[in-house]
Symmetry: C2
Subunit: 309 residues, 2 copies
């Protein structure tokens, strides 16, 4: 059975005010950072606030004072973070977070979160947490220790969808899919007006999209493989714009299991009938973010068949 670990690792770092712009570091700096994670830059879009890079495994967004990088598969994002910390000292850094989700097959990863934690803690004083039970979906986060106060509009949300079903899922798994077909399926322009998009269709399956509008971003990564499908959506859209987008993604992709993770944002979704919130956690992090984690499932109505290996 074809398997690809869609689940992403994620780093976000913010520099202290008055520091030289991260965008001014230029593409070679970011190419090197991405290479540390075992990924490469495929393409990019730019506006006057943000450089958005589409990677061979997920995405990188660079603003003047911060960057955000997500990588999936068996990438080694922690090595990109340690590389970044060689260039920027604790005195220059306002805040850093490093997140990992539960993986479908964690034993295939190059390192565990515990091992990443050892590497990061040696370079930067910090604290780590797990939201969600260890035997179910969960999310790990490491964050820098120093006091930090996020801006009022610094709020992000992640919708992580597992076991997608229905016509859209079938299309995303079909050998006849095209880039135009996937775009039409989601209708990004209609869903996210005035965004500038950059997307890529992988062979034989898989799709990634970055979108930016001013300092707002969206990023979507699709691993459609039957038995281990995974679609992630992450954004810093404000609450009013966010709700309809998340609802539309849920309607379209019909995931049998999904997580909602948010920072300084309480989401309210239009869950379909039969959905159960099986786990929920909330933690006020000492760096000024309230982190929320919710895991939803749609229990099967009748016993499923086993999967033959």
């Amino acid at each position: 059975m074809m398997f690809f670990e869609g689940s992403e690792k994620k780093v976000e770092a913010v520099l202290k005010p008055g520091h030289e712009s991260l965008r001014a570091l230029g593409k070679p700096f970011w190419e090197n950072l991405v290479a540390q994670a075992n990924a490469t830059i495929l393409s990019s879009v730019h506006n006057d606030r943000c450089d958005a890079y589409l990677l061979s495994e997920s995405s990188l967004f660079v603003w003047d004072d911060r960057f955000l990088m997500l990588t999936c598969g068996t990438t080694t994002l922690v090595q990109a973070v340690t590389e970044f910390l060689k260039h920027f000292s604790q005195n220059e850094l306002a805040m850093l977070t490093y997140q990992r989700k539960n993986e479908y097959q964690s034993h295939l990863q190059k390192s565990s979160f515990d091992e990443d934690l050892v590497a990061l803690s040696g370079l930067l004083p910090g604290t780590a947490w797990r939201l969600g039970h260890l035997d179910g979906h969960h999310n790990y986060i490491f964050h820098s220790e120093a006091a930090y106060q996020p801006d009022a509009d610094d709020a992000t949300a992640e919708l992580l969808m597992y076991h997608i079903q229905g016509q859209a899922a079938d299309y995303l798994r079909s050998p006849s899919q095209t880039l135009e077909g996937v775009r039409a399926l989601f209708n990004w322009q209609g869903m996210l007006p005035d965004f500038q998009f950059d997307d890529f269709l992988f062979e034989p399956f898989g799709y990634s999209m970055n979108g930016i509008r001013g300092d707002r971003y969206v990023t979507v990564h699709i691993t459609p493989q039957e038995d281990s499908s995974y679609v992630s959506f992450e954004t810093n859209l404000d609450k009013a714009e966010l709700g309809p987008v998340l609802d539309q993604l849920l309607r379209l992709l019909q995931p049998q299991s999904y997580d909602v993770i948010s920072f300084n944002l309480a989401t309210k979704l239009a869950h379909q009938g039969g959905v159960v919130r099986v786990d929920q956690a909330e933690q006020r992090l000492p760096i000024g973010y309230t982190m929320r984690f919710e895991h939803f499932m749609v229990p099967p109505k009748a016993p499923l068949s086993a999967t033959r290996l």
Copy 2:
């Protein structure tokens, strides 16, 4: 945080009729097999049908025509199976199954199920299945290919409990616990009349119990550690006796998540209020067993705090 992987791997093998008794192989044979898995024999009880060994990591039961071995932690049960297959050819073997559950921390295991499968398939033609979704609780089984017809009373059930709560759980985690205290807590004699018991209290926590009555067995293994607690109960008790025992264990241990796995037995439990069956699978295996898997959860009523690592 103290972590021990309670989740067991399991092998069951049946010899063809007319073969010399497995019990006649003697303790050194079984000591060697147990050593292959990186476990040791702690104690044993015997009756005229069965030898039951309590292991440093779980249990071994030997009958004339079959044996059953469970091992937890980071044991290498697959190596015990490959050792067994050096002594018994396909022609002598009526049936063999090898099972693995999802682990709390699969990346700490010495091998994955996929790797075990490669080792086993090289020695014995067989088929492997997974019941339950890959991102949630699930159970893997490999079984031999040859046609097999189980006896009418060959039915087994496993109750696997996660995140135990309440007074019993508190006692099982308390430094002041005693072997007598644990026995009194469960009242094995009352729960399982006429069984002969053998049990062991580990330092600083953890408890194992084997019980036999004729050719019937029960085995209980408790890993009480907060954040990753796990209690397994497995038996070939008949349906009438089984129901009240499972219900009593659920009432006593109040697991927040549990699996029921059965072979040729449809269980019906008295689930407490608020319990949701979040996954279920059923598969008719070509060796004459219908295998059932159910995962139940008790969703938290309010957000939980994060676990600080």
